[in-house]
Symmetry: C2
Subunit: 490 residues, 2 copies
C-alpha cells in the first residue's frame, strides 16, 4: 500500500516530507505547528538520547528538571533575550479557572528560570562549577513549520553551567561543541563544520555562540547544535553570585548548549534516498531484517528455523562484538505479504541490512545480503553470515559519514567576488568560503539579495576565526577580514 | 552545614519536606506549585524510567510523543473528562504575539489529543492492537502542592492502547496494573494493594479504574499508579474506528495507564528515617561510599590506594554478578571534611552501604561496613568485602520491601462497625478493611465525617471485587456488599 516517494531531483522538500510521513517517523497534529513523533521516529530519538546523554554525563554534567512555565517578568530581565524570544512565546493567561496575576510563558529555553534557582543554590566557589542538563520540551511559535526541522514544540536537551572564571566558561562552551561535533559524526554519520556565529546570528543573550553546521543533500545548510558562552549576562540579571576564595562576591560565568529533535531531520536529509530512509546503524533499533522466501516451498519449516537460528546467531555475535549497541534482528515471517513488498517496506524504513533466505539458498548453505545504502545483493555462506552482518554494519556507519563528507566537500567552494558568489549560489548551491569584513551591512546585503547567510566563521586550533588577507567578498574592503561560510539554510 | 531533620514522630509532613530539601532531591520554584527536580532526585527518576520503560516495552508497547497543547474543543468532546479536568487546566490564550483563535490547554493527560491521531492511523483490525506510551510532562493546576506528591507540573508516563474487543482492553488494563505492582515491589521496594477504584474515584472518562495503593509510614495511603479501561468512551467521541474481519466498521476499545514522579515521594515516605533518605539499591546511582579515615595517619597514600582498589573490585564484582544494575562506588577523599561529616552526609543522601577504612583497619586487613537502613557497624575482611557488599545490597532491597510489608500489614485492620472505624482511624490510622454496600451515600458520609476515602476494592483471582457476607460498615445494609479498604490518603 506504500505510496510513491517523490524523487529528490523533482522536489527535495516534498521528498523529505514523503519519507517522514511514509516511514511513519512523524505526523502533523491538529495543533498548528506541533508534530507527533511516531514510534519509528521516537526510537531514533531514544538512540540519540541514550548516546548523547552518556557523552554529556562523561563531562561531569548531571540531569535535572526545571518548570515548563516561566514568569513573564523573568524573561524580561535580560534585555536582548526577551527581544529575541518574546515574538515566539506561547503564554498561559489563566489556569485553575482563574486569570493569573502574572502571565506564564511556556519555556522557549530555560536560562531565566534556571538562573533563578542557580542564584539560590550557589553560595561559594565550592559550589562551582555547577553543571546541569535537562531533557525537555520547549515551545517557540513558528510561522512556517516543517516536521522535525522547525516545529512549534520540539524536544531537546539544554545544558546550563556556572563557572568561577570567564576562561572556564569559554572552555566549557568549546568542550560541548566538541561533544556535539563528535556525536554528530560518530553517531548520526553527519559531518559538521564547527564554527562561531556572527554577532547577528548569535543566541539572544549570549556573548558568543558556537555552532555545528551540516550540509543537506540539497546543499543547504542545517544548524545542528549550538553552544553559547553567556558570560555574566544572565547571572547579572538574576544576581547569581558566589563568594570567591579571595573573600569577594563575584558574578558567575555561564554557558548553555543544546541539540534537538531537529537532528533527526538533518540525519534524514543527509543520508536518505528515493527509496526511503537510510538509517546509520547506530540509530537503528532493527538492524537486520531476515526475509524467508517461502512461496510454496515444501521445506517452509526448515527455512523459518534456519532464519530464526541465524537471527539468534547474529544477536549473539553482536553482544560479543565491539559494536556499541544491541544488534536488533527481525525475522519477517508474515505470510500475508510478498517478499517484494517486504523489501520495499524495509527500504522505506531504513533497516540497514536485509537478508533473504529461500529454499535454494538453504540447499546451498547461503543467504543473500543487501546493505540498505548500497542496494547490491551479495551471496554469503550461511556460516559466515553472522560475522558478515557485523562487518556490514560497521562499514555502513563509516561509509555514510565518508559519503556525506565527500558530498559536502565537493559542494564547498572558495569564492572571492560577490558576482561569482551570487551566480553560483543560485546555479549550484552549496557552501561558499570567502573573506568577510565583519560588517553587519555586508552580512545583511548578502541575506537580502541572495537569501544566504553567514553560517559560521570556521575556527583555527585556538578557536579563533581565521584571518583572511583578501578583500571582503561583499564590499572588497580589507579591514579585519575573516573567513566565513555563506550558504542558504533551513 | 546540614540542618536538623524534623523527627517523623514530631511532624511527619515537615520531616518529609526536610528530607526532600536537605537531600537536595527537589526544590520549590518561583512558579506557584511547580517544583525543580534536582540532580539527586532526577537520578532516581532516571532509574525509575529505565527499569519501567523496559518492563513496558516487554509487553509490546512502543514509545511516541504527542503535542503538549490540546485544542480546548478536544477536551470537551468527552463529557465526564472535561468535567473532571477543566477546573485544573492551564490555558494558552495568546502565542506568537497574537490572540489564538482557539485556546490551547496544556495537557493534563493526553487521551483526547492522542485519539485524534489514533482515528487517523487506525484503518483495520490489522492495525490493532495499537500500543503506545509516552514519557512527558503534564500540568494540573493544584491548590495545595507538596514536592513530588502533588505538583502543578509533574513528569509521568502515560500509556494509551487500542484493541478490537472489550476483553482485550480489559486484559491490557489488568496486565499494566500487574506491571506497576511488580515494578513497585521489586524496584521501589514498596508493597502495594492492587484494586478497583469506586465509581466516584475513577478516572474522568473511564469505564473502570484499577490502582495500586501503598501505605506510607504515617499510615496514610498513597495512590501509586492507575490503569484505566476506557471502553469506547473516547473512541466514540473521536470516531476511532476500524474495519473488522467481518467487514464491519467498529469502535476500538481503549486503555490508558500511568505512573508519575509521585512515586519518588511514595518511596521516600515508605523507607526513609530521621537521619535522611533510605534508598532501595535499585534506585541508587551511588551504592557504596568508601570513607578513608586518614587524620594524621602516616600511611595516607596506602589507605587511599586500598580504598580505590576496593572500589574497583566492587564495581568489577558488580558487573560479574546477577545484580540488575551497575554498582556505583564513590571514594570520598575530600580532606576538607571530617569522616563524621561524611557519615552524616551519606546517611542524609541515602547511600545504601558505607565502608570505613582507617590505618588500623588496613593493618588488620579489614573494613567497617554499615548498611544505611540498619545502621549497625560490621567488621569484614578486606578480601571478603567485595562479595559482602553485593550480598548487603541484595539483602537490603529485599528487607526494605519486607519491612514495609510488615508495617502495612500490622497497620491494616478488619472493622465491622462504623463506630469502631471512626474511632480507630482517628486514634490509630492505617488501612481499614470492611464491607461496603457500594452506595455513593455511604462513601460520601465516610469522606465527610472521617476524611477517609475508599482507596480501592481489593480483587480476587478473577479481578473481581470480593463479596462480603456481613452488613455494610456504614449503613449496616446487606445488598451487594463488597470488601473495601478505607484510609486517609495523600
Amino acid at each position: 500500500m506504500a505510496e510513491k516517494i517523490t524523487p529528490r531531483a523533482q522536489d527535495f522538500s516534498q521528498w523529505y516530507q514523503d519519507i517522514v510521513i511514509q516511514a511513519r517517523l512523524a505526523d502533523y497534529s491538529p495543533v498548528k505547528g506541533c508534530m507527533v513523533i511516531r514510534p519509528n521516529g521516537y526510537s531514533i530519538w531514544e538512540q540519540i538520547q541514550k548516546d548523547l546523554d552518556r557523552r554529556i554525563k562523561e563531562t561531569g554534567v548531571r540531569n535535572a528538571y526545571f518548570p515548563l512555565f516561566i514568569p513573564e517578568s523573568f524573561l524580561k530581565k535580560e534585555a536582548e533575550h526577551v527581544e529575541g524570544f518574546a515574538p515566539q512565546c506561547a503564554v498561559v493567561t489563566y489556569a485553575g479557572a482563574k486569570d493569573l496575576e502574572e502571565k506564564l510563558v511556556v519555556r522557549p529555553t530555560s536560562e531565566t528560570i534556571i538562573n533563578s534557582m542557580f542564584a539560590k543554590w550557589i553560595q561559594s566557589y565550592r559550589d562551582l562549577p555547577l553543571l546541569i542538563n535537562q531533557w525537555a520540551n520547549v515551545v517557540r511559535w513558528e510561522m512556517r513549520t516543517r516536521l522535525f526541522l522547525r516545529t512549534t514544540e520540539f524536544l531537546w536537551q539544554e545544558g546550563h553551567t556556572c563557572h568561577a572564571t570567564p576562561e572556564e566558561a569559554e572552555e566549557e562552551t568549546r568542550q560541548m561543541l566538541r561533544v556535539y561535533a563528535s556525536f554528530a559524526e560518530e553517531v548520526l554519520a553527519m559531518p559538521v563544520v564547527p564554527g562561531l556565529k556572527s554577532e547577528s546570528e548569535k543566541f539572544a543573550g549570549a556573548l558568543r555562540t558556537y555552532c555545528i553546521e551540516a550540509m543537506m543533500q540539497d546543499k543547504k545548510a542545517l544548524q545542528a547544535g549550538t553552544s553559547h558562552n553567556l558570560s555574566t549576562n544572565f547571572a547579572q540579571a538574576f544576581n547569581t553570585m558566589f563568594l570567591d576564595k579571595d573573600g569577594k562576591q563575584k558574578v558567575v560565568h555561564q554557558t548553555s548548549w543544546g541539540v534537538s529533535t531537529r537532528l533527526i531531520g538533518g540525519m534524514i536529509m543527509t543520508h536518505s534516498d528515493d527509496k526511503g530512509l537510510v538509517l546509520p546503524p547506530r540509530l537503528a533499533s532493527t538492524h537486520v531484517v531476515i526475509v524467508p522466501i517461502m512461496g510454496n516451498a515444501p521445506n517452509k519449516a526448515a527455512i523459518i528455523e534456519a532464519a530464526e537460528s541465524l537471527a539468534a546467531g547474529i544477536r549473539d555475535a553482536g553482544r560479543r562484538s565491539e559494536l556499541p549497541y544491541e544488534v536488533g534482528v527481525l525475522v519477517d515471517k508474515d505470510e500475508s505479504k510478498q517478499p517484494g513488498w517486504k523489501f520495499h517496506e524495509h527500504e522505506l524504513l531504513g533497516t540497514p541490512v536485509r537478508i533473504e533466505l529461500g529454499p535454494r539458498d538453504l540447499e546451498k548453505g547461503q543467504v543473500v545480503m543487501t546493505r540498505r545504502d548500497l542496494g547490491k545483493k551479495e551471496f554469503v555462506s550461511l556460516d559466515g553470515a553472522r560475522q558478515k552482518v557485523l562487518e556490514m554494519l560497521e562499514a555502513m556507519q563509516k561509509d555514510l559519514l565518508e559519503k556525506a563528507r565527500s558530498f559536502r566537500d565537493a559542494s564547498t567552494q572558495r569564492v572571492e567576488t560577490y558576482g561569482q558568489f551570487s551566480r553560483d549560489i543560485e546555479e549550484k548551491g552549496g557552501f561558499f568560503v570567502a573573506p568577510w569584513c565583519q560588517s553587519k551591512d555586508c552580512e545583511a546585503k548578502v541575506k537580502e539579495e541572495t537569501k544566504a547567510t553567514i553560517r559560521c566563521l570556521p575556527l583555527d586550533d585556538a578557536y579563533q576565526p581565521i584571518h583572511e588577507a583578501g578583500g571582503c567578498m561583499v564590499c572588497g574592503g580589507s579591514r579585519a577580514n575573516v573567513r566565513a561560510i555563506f550558504a542558504r539554510s533551513y
